[in-house]
Each structure stands twice: as structure tokens, then as C-alpha cells.
């Protein structure tokens, strides 16, 4: 490394010595590229604001994004991102062609990747007694690997999309809403259902109506399975435990031997034997109100939970293990009685019992507490860990007056003064996904294999599609700022900087200086003193400043 390059690097660094405020940039700062700065500084569109918006609307700025915004202006850039359907994305499509399970239905996936495994387990295990359980049978590793393929491909897709999609806001929001309606791939059959879940239930609705998004998740095999609603049954109906007296003695005898649980779906008995579903399961009803809509302080009671659970009885999955694997309303499991939810009567006896659940979703989607909960969560993701209440009020109002039009809510958010305020620039701590992806984008990395990146994100504590609780991953600093994770981040920064097979990148990284925001004086000095380019890159990507967005 020549001293000339080093000097150029040092000069390219913004000097900020304001104590206690990583972003308060004093006058006299030096910007990496300043040709357009004078003109830009006249309006809102200074370089800092551009980087800020890119840090929130995208998975991290690339140098050419900065150029693009300079060219078309911030407002036009945001408007463009609010309409992903108008953005061509051939580069991403090209990269996803090698991942065929992305387009498959759960039925396809179950038939191609799950059935062979189930069959092998049955064949390999010999005759089964009535006491047989629900655990895995020893089978060949090839079948086990094949069964893991759909989630492997989905994870690669997520990383590739985050890095390369031109529809960045859509990708960011897909991550946000998947996490809001979290489903863990490790729960039984869910690993076969997630590709469709993200593709059909989440992504098409992230800038659409909240009610559509909510309804799509409610009917998805992924959610029905994850929160056990597929098992929920009117206890007084023909399939319920209280209805056992109505069963033939043979059926009753069979049922005694059927595993009571099986909510992890491992049950795999002979044809015609279905898992036991003999009572009300409140799991979905509770999380629907607490996590998906009203929020924990949304004013519902345990009685409301039970009523909502009754309304959703019969919302189940058609033959999940045989390759049906689609939403199915089973009137025989449905509780046809009257319900009262949050004081609103839902009269029973509807000719189509599935209407009860739809009525609950209508009620919850339009409830003021839901508007507020969603507004607060979006503001937390896009603005700050503790967003201004006035902003939440305005977003909630916009949500209500547009009947939950998420594009309008996002437009209001992204044009708000709170969002553009210098006070919130670089105050959000990146999640592991955001950190890794933003690093690849900052170096404009050419990914030859996304799997090492998926592993890195997992090593940083955020295994993709494997968040156990229905709360999803945390979105505030305290969830991600810890010592072990920081050591891992620094090592990932070094791996990415070196490039090569371990990183999944074609070549060693070189920094697009345009994409890096201001560095503190001390960081700039440390980076400037490094003797090789890869160290400079590593020290930049691993620096405190780059852990924030």
C-alpha cells in the first residue's frame, strides 16, 4: 500500500470529534465525494440525509444508490420504492433461478421432500404397534438433507434478495412483516410451508392492506401449524373430546391409542389415521390479539381469547402430510354457537362457519389499538428504538383513515420530519441480517455462494427462519448489543474483507467509500493507519459506526 493511497483514504474520511454524539458532525467536515454537496446542501438532500434514508429504506447504501438518489432526488427515490411493482428486478431473478423450491407449493414440497422421508422412516422401522410414537426414524442422510433443502433455499433467497433486489423497501418490509407474523421453521412440518408463506402470504401484501396481510397469514398452513390452530376443535362437536360418546366403539377404541399431542406434526401413522384434535386450542387466538393486532395492552381479556379461539375452530390444514397442505375449513370441527369478541356479537349458525373467523379478523384489523400497535412497531423499525409519540399518533391516524393501507402509512412515515431528523440518524443498531447484508452492499460484493453468509448470520445469533417465540426477533439495540455477538461481528467483518470461499464472495472486498457514512476521528485514524486494504475494509465494517444504521 503506497502512502499516497493511504493519504487519499484518510482525506476521504469525515472527521467528527463531537464527544458523546457519534453523528453530530461539526462544521468543517470532509465528505468522501463533495462535488454535489454544495448544491445538495441547499435542500434537505445533503449527503447525510441521503445515507440516512438509504440506511432505513434499504438494507444499506451501495455507492451507486447514493449516485442514483443524487440523480433523481430523495423524494422520487422514496416514491419509487413505495411501488416495487414498477421496478424491474432482472438481476435478482437471475440469481434466484438456481433455487427451484422457492416457487413450489407446500403440497409440491411435501410430496417431493417430505413424503420420501416419512415413507423411509416407516419402511425402515418395521411393523408398528398401536403405541407407536411420533419421533424420527433412522433414515438415510440424503433424505434428511433433501428435507432441509426448502428452508436452505429460502434462506439463501432472503440474503440474495436483501443484497441485490432493486425493490429494497419491499425486501426490508418483507423481513419486518415476516418477523411480525413469525413462524419457526423448526416446528415440525413448518419447514415445508415457509416458502409459500413468505412468497404468497407476506411479500405481496407488505405495501397493501393490513387486513389482506392478516387474512393471508391466518389462512396459511405455516401459521395454522405453528400456532396449533389446525388442531383446534369444538370440544362439543363430533370430533371433540366431549363428543366421544357419539363415536362408534371401534373409533373410540382407536382414539384411545392416538397420541394426544402431535402439535409438532411428527405423527405418522397408517393411512386414514389423523392426529387427535379434540379440544379448543387458544394459542393462535392469544397471539393474534397480543402480537399480530391489538398489542399486549390492547384491552382484551381471557374471555375474548376463548371466544376468538371458538370462532377459529375448523380453520385447519387439508391433509398436511399427504401433500394437500392447504387451508381447509372443516365445518365438523367448528363451534357454531354465538360468540362475543371485544363486546361485538358474532351470531352463530352462519351457513358458512368460516365467516366467524373472518368477522374476527375484520374487527381486529380495524380496531384503534391495532392501528397504534402497528404504527409503533413500524416507527421503531424505521425511526428509533423509542419513536416520538406524535409520530405514532399520526401514523395510527393514517392507518385508520386509509383502512390499513400500509403504503400510505409508510409514505407518511418516510416523509415525516421525525424520520428525517438528524437526531435519529444512525441510532438504530443493525440486526445480524442487516449487518452482514449492509457490509456486502457497502463493498459491492459479488456473492458466489450465499450459504456462508446464511451461516454467518446464524453465528451472529439470528438463524434465519428459526426464531422460536412467536414474538419474532427483537428490533431494538438491547436485543443485539452483547459481547459475544460483537466478537462474532468483528470476525465476520474480517472474513468479508478477505473474500474467498469462506465468505462466499468472489474476491477480496474493496470499500465503496461513497456508501460509508461519517467515521469518528478516532476510527478514521485507526483505519488510516492500517497497512493493507483488507485491514482498512475490516476495520471499517467492524467499527462501532458500521454497527448502526
Amino acid at each position: 500500500m503506497t502512502s499516497r493511497t493511504t493519504a487519499a483514504w484518510t482525506a476521504a474520511i469525515v472527521l467528527s470529534s463531537a464527544p458523546g454524539a457519534g453523528l453530530a458532525i461539526p462544521p468543517g467536515q470532509v465528505w468522501p465525494v463533495s462535488t454535489r454537496q454544495a448544491e445538495a446542501a441547499a435542500g434537505r438532500q445533503d449527503r447525510r440525509t441521503v445515507l440516512h434514508v438509504l440506511n432505513r429504506v434499504t438494507f444499506g447504501p451501495r455507492g451507486r444508490d447514493v449516485d442514483a438518489v443524487d440523480r433523481i432526488g430523495l423524494a422520487a427515490y422514496i416514491e419509487r420504492q413505495l411501488h416495487p411493482e414498477r421496478i424491474a428486478d432482472p438481476g435478482l431473478d437471475q440469481r434466484l433461478t438456481g433455487l427451484p423450491t422457492l416457487e413450489m407449493t407446500p403440497g409440491d414440497i411435501v410430496r417431493r421432500f417430505a413424503r420420501p422421508l416419512f415413507d423411509a422412516r416407516r419402511a425402515g422401522a418395521g411393523p408398528r404397534s398401536s403405541q407407536d410414537g411420533d419421533g424420527p426414524r433412522p433414515v438415510g442422510p440424503a433424505l434428511v438433507r433433501a428435507a432441509a433443502l426448502p428452508v436452505d433455499e429460502l434462506s439463501q433467497q432472503k440474503v440474495l434478495r436483501a443484497i441485490y433486489s432493486e425493490r429494497q423497501l419491499e425486501a426490508v418490509l418483507t423481513d419486518f412483516w415476516f418477523n411480525h407474523f413469525n413462524v419457526d421453521a423448526r416446528k415440525g412440518l413448518d419447514r415445508f410451508f415457509l416458502n409459500e408463506y413468505e412468497r404468497a402470504a407476506i411479500r405481496p401484501h407488505v405495501l397493501g392492506r393490513f387486513r389482506d396481510l392478516l387474512g393471508a397469514t391466518a389462512k396459511s398452513p405455516a401459521m395454522l401449524f405453528y400456532l396449533d390452530n389446525w388442531l383446534s376443535t369444538d370440544p362439543n362437536g363430533p370430533h371433540g373430546s366431549a363428543g366421544r360418546g357419539r363415536l362408534s366403539s371401534r373409533e373410540a377404541r382407536r382414539r384411545r391409542f392416538v397420541d394426544r399431542r402431535s402439535s409438532d406434526g411428527r405423527l405418522d401413522r397408517g393411512a386414514g389415521v389423523t392426529p387427535q384434535k379434540r379440544g379448543l386450542n387458544e394459542n393462535y387466538a392469544r397471539e393474534l390479539m397480543e402480537l399480530h393486532t391489538l398489542g399486549v395492552d390492547g384491552g382484551y381479556t381471557q374471555a375474548d381469547i376463548t371466544e376468538v379461539a371458538r370462532a377459529f375452530t375448523g380453520w385447519t390444514i387439508d391433509r398436511p402430510r399427504q401433500g394437500g397442505a392447504a387451508f381447509h375449513f372443516d365445518p365438523r370441527r367448528h363451534d357454531p354457537g354465538d360468540k362475543v369478541v371485544l363486546g361485538h356479537p358474532i351470531p352463530g349458525g352462519a351457513r358458512n362457519g368460516a365467516r366467524d373467523g373472518e368477522a374476527v379478523l375484520d374487527l381486529l384489523a380495524r380496531h384503534p389499538a391495532t392501528a397504534r400497535a402497528i404504527a409503533g412497531k413500524l416507527a421503531r423499525r424505521f425511526v428509533s428504538d423509542e419513536p416520538p409519540l406524535a409520530l405514532i399518533d399520526r401514523l395510527a391516524a393514517r392507518f385508520r383513515e386509509t383502512d390499513g393501507d400500509l403504503r400510505e402509512v409508510m409514505r407518511t412515515l418516510l416523509s415525516s420530519s421525525e424520520f428525517l431528523s438528524p437526531d435519529v440518524m444512525r441510532v438504530k443498531t443493525k440486526t445480524p441480517l442487516e449487518f452482514v447484508v449492509s457490509a456486502i452492499r457497502a463493498v459491492d460484493g459479488e456473492v458466489t455462494d450465499a450459504r456462508p453468509l446464511v451461516r454467518q448470520i446464524s453465528d451472529l445469533g439470528m438463524p434465519l427462519y428459526q426464531c422460536q417465540p412467536p414474538t419474532g426477533y427483537g428490533d431494538t439495540a438491547d436485543a443485539w448489543a452483547n459481547a459475544g455477538a460483537l466478537v462474532a461481528r468483528i470476525n465476520v467483518a474480517q472474513t468479508i474483507a478477505r473474500g474467498g470461499a469462506r465468505s462466499g464472495l468472489r474476491r477480496a472486498a474493496s470499500l465503496d467509500r461513497n456508501a460509508i457514512g461519517p467515521l469518528s476521528e478516532s476510527t478514521a485514524g485507526i483505519v488510516g493507519r492500517a497497512t493493507t486494504e483488507w485491514q482498512r475494509v475490516a476495520l471499517t465494517l467492524g467499527a462501532p459506526e458500521f454497527q448502526k444504521r
Binding site: P19, D132, D134, P136, R260, T429, G461, A481, N482, Q535
Partner: protein, 413 residues
């Protein structure tokens, strides 16, 4: 002795050039003072170990009736039969390395213990056992992390916790330790750290970071690295002639012992061992379960023996998400069940006893007609450890939604 060792090691660090005091040394010194926190080593047997083979109720005729091919034989001397514990229960013979601890009253067993939630899903049951809130899935943190949170509030006067107060020897931080309180997942002590010529640069960056949170986390991270280097993982010699099994579990426990001995302020350690989901050909005194138990028993015995005197303030606690069905299935294995056995070793535990009311194995005594019933809620065991061993004033905040009642404690301490 201990503090001298720390000071000797100190010479090995080139910290002076960085121009700031190594805060970990102050913390280490504090941790080494008398009256320091006691230690818990939590072991998770993932996959639901068959507690009826680990602690065999050989006094039950039903046990042999419903397990014609996989029952562990009644004690008869030798290593192909259960080792008698108390005239009714026997230890699996592959766990013979643990028998001396029982004889010395250092090993206690809680049988017919588990979660009140009915689930037979590995996924959900592990979740509940680690969150400590059976039936409630949305709990964000694990009960051991909540313990650390509460402990931190009681510690204000005593100063900050050590950088490595809680360490999981696993790739991912287990749910048990997830939460607001700092906890570290370390796959291998020798691998933990930042290597390469830029390492010092990163340390300086974080030492001078304006962001207070990152500044603190950075200090913790680099302290932890130095602290773990103190344990000197590459040149470790176990004491008392111990040899750890060369299995992942054995290595994990050896590294926990290293951390304990390095006196770096470790309070909570975690390790896990899988392979217990024995639906097929479980075996008896030989076979797949016996092989796993050999590793499990030898590793635990090595840890306890290696720690020696240090076991007086350390408890080893084992857990597994649920037990297995009382009767064997058609594949000479066992399916998912309910109640299970937990082991506790060391730390003033009143050992040599099987705790908990024994519900019996007759069909009408079983849970759902098929599984070992639960007579001790696992939270009562955990809460007793938290209060009586770790010394928390109250375990109420550690187990939200549960009325922790000391009169329900099994009386282990």
C-alpha cells in the same frame, strides 16, 4: 493463590500500550473475594432422555411387564444390571461413574418431575423448560437470564458483573440464557476472540466509541477475550487424574471446568448433549441409549472430580424436555412421554436420595394412561436452586405467572 495466579498472568498482556486500565482485572479480583456468587452448571439433554432407564424403578413389577425387551435388569451385581440406589430405584449401569457421588451424598435425583404443559413436542417442551413459562410461548427471555437480571439488581452495591458471568459452551446462546443480561455463547474457548493484525485496531475503535452502549459492549467483549485467554485452553491439565471423554460433551465440560478454575467470575455455565430420542432399538445395558449414557456419565464424573473442592459452591443440574412413554413401542424403543428424572450434584445438595412423590407405573397411575405422571413441577426444582443455592431473595420474577412457594420446594438443600 488465586489472585497471585491472575497477577502472574497479567504480565502476558500488552495492555499498557493501549493506555487504559484493564477493567476485567478489577472485576476478576472482585470475583475472587470471599462470599462470591455461587455457581450453577446447567446441562440440557436435548431429545427427551428416557428417565425410566436412567433412574430405574426396579421395584415396580409393571416396569418389567411393559418393557419386555428394553428394561434395565434388577440389581444383581455386575455391570449388566441396575446399580441399587435405595432398594427401589437403581442407576443405569453405564452411569456407574456417578455412583460414588450418590454414595457420598453429593448426588440427588428428582424423579417424576417435569412441565405441567401437556405437550409432547420436543420443540414446545424445550421452549417451556428454557423460558420457564410452560404453556406461554411468547416469553422473550430464558429463566436463567431472568435470574441474572434479578441478580444484577441485587448486586448494585457489589459492582458490575464479570464479563463472563454466564457462558454457554454451544454455537448459539440457548433460549435458557437469552435475554437482557449479558451472556456469552462460545463454541470453543480456544476459538473465541479476534485474531489477526487488525485485532488491536478493533479494540481501540470500541474503547473510543462515542456510542455508550457499543463502548460498554466492546469493553465487555475484549475483557471476555482476555479473561478466556486466562483460562489458557490450550494447555489445560485436569486435576485429580481426570480424563474427559473426547466427545463434544466431554470437551464442553472440560472447558467449563477451565473457566471455573480460572476464577474469572463465572456464575452460570451451560452445556448440552443430544441423541436421546430413542424411538427405535433403544437397548438396555448395551445399545444406543447406553452409549449416550456412557458419554454423559463419564463426562459429568470427570467434571465433578476435576472441580474437586470447588464443587462445594457449584451445583450441576441436568434437565431434559420430557420423559418417555412407560411401555416400549413396537420397535424396541420408547415414544414421547411426560415425567422425567433430574440430577443435581454438589453445592450442598442433600444427596443420596430420590426426591419427589413416586406416582407408580400401573396403567391407572400414568398420565394419559401411558406416561410417567408428574408430581414435581420443574419450576419448583429450578426455584429452589435459584433461592437456596444461588441465593436470590425471591424467585418470583424468575418464574412469572407462577406462584413460587418454598413449601413446595423438594427440599434439596
Amino acid at each position: 493463590m488465586i489472585s497471585r495466579r491472575v497477577i502472574l498472568k497479567r504480565g502476558g498482556f500488552a495492555l499498557v500500550s493501549l493506555g487504559f486500565a484493564p477493567s476485567f482485572l478489577a472485576r476478576t479480583a472482585m470475583a475472587a473475594t470471599p462470599g462470591r456468587a455461587r455457581r450453577l452448571i446447567a446441562i440440557f439433554q436435548r431429545g427427551a432422555v428416557d428417565g425410566l432407564s436412567v433412574v430405574v424403578p426396579y421395584g415396580e413389577a409393571d416396569y418389567y411387564r411393559v418393557r419386555p425387551t428394553i428394561a434395565v435388569p434388577r440389581p444383581a451385581g455386575g455391570d449388566q444390571a441396575a446399580l441399587d440406589l435405595d432398594g427401589f430405584f437403581g442407576l443405569h449401569p453405564r452411569l456407574s461413574p456417578l455412583k460414588p457421588f450418590w454414595d457420598r451424598h453429593d448426588l440427588a435425583i428428582v424423579h417424576a418431575c417435569g412441565s405441567p404443559a401437556a405437550t409432547r413436542s420436543h420443540f414446545d417442551a424445550q421452549d417451556y423448560m428454557e423460558s420457564g413459562t410452560p404453556g406461554v410461548k411468547r416469553t422473550a427471555d430464558g429463566w436463567l437470564n431472568r435470574y441474572l437480571q434479578v441478580r444484577a439488581t441485587e448486586r448494585v452495591a457489589a459492582g458490575p458483573a464479570a464479563a463472563v458471568q454466564a457462558v454457554a459452551l454451544s454455537a448459539q446462546l440457548p433460549r435458557l440464557l437469552q435475554g437482557r443480561a449479558p451472556a456469552l455463547a462460545v463454541r470453543d474457548l480456544g476459538q473465541f476472540g479476534v485474531r489477526g493484525p487488525a485485532a488491536g485496531g478493533f479494540e481501540s475503535e470500541y474503547a473510543q466509541a462515542a456510542d455508550r452502549v457499543l463502548n460498554g459492549v466492546g469493553r465487555d467483549a475484549f475483557d471476555a477475550m482476555k479473561t478466556l485467554r486466562l483460562a489458557d485452553p490450550r494447555h489445560y491439565r485436569p486435576e485429580n487424574g481426570v480424563r474427559y471423554p473426547r466427545s463434544p460433551f466431554g470437551r464442553a465440560l472440560q472447558q467449563i471446568a477451565q473457566l471455573c478454575k480460572a476464577e474469572v467470575g463465572l456464575e452460570i455455565a451451560f452445556a448440552e448433549i443430544g441423541g436421546w430420542d430413542t424411538h427405535v432399538n433403544q437397548g438396555t445395558t448395551q445399545g444406543s441409549l447406553a452409549t449416550r449414557l456412557t458419554d454423559f456419565g463419564q463426562s459429568l464424573a470427570a467434571l465433578v472430580t476435576d472441580l474437586g473442592e470447588r464443587m462445594t459452591d457449584t451445583v450441576v443440574l441436568t434437565m431434559s424436555e420430557f420423559g418417555r412413554a412407560v411401555a416400549e413401542n413396537g420397535n424396541r424403543g420408547t415414544d414421547h412421554g411426560h415425567g422425567n428424572a433430574m440430577l443435581l450434584i454438589g453445592g450442598g445438595v442433600k444427596g443420596g436420595r430420590v426426591y419427589g412423590r413416586w406416582p407408580g407405573l400401573a396403567a391407572h397411575q400414568r398420565y394419559d394412561g401411558r406416561d410417567l405422571a408428574i408430581t414435581t413441577d420443574f419450576r419448583d426444582v429450578f426455584a429452589e436452586v435459584v433461592v437456596k443455592h444461588l441465593g436470590l431473595r425471591s424467585a418470583a420474577a424468575v418464574f412469572p405467572g407462577y406462584a413460587v412457594d418454598p413449601t413446595r420446594f423438594p427440599g434439596l438443600f
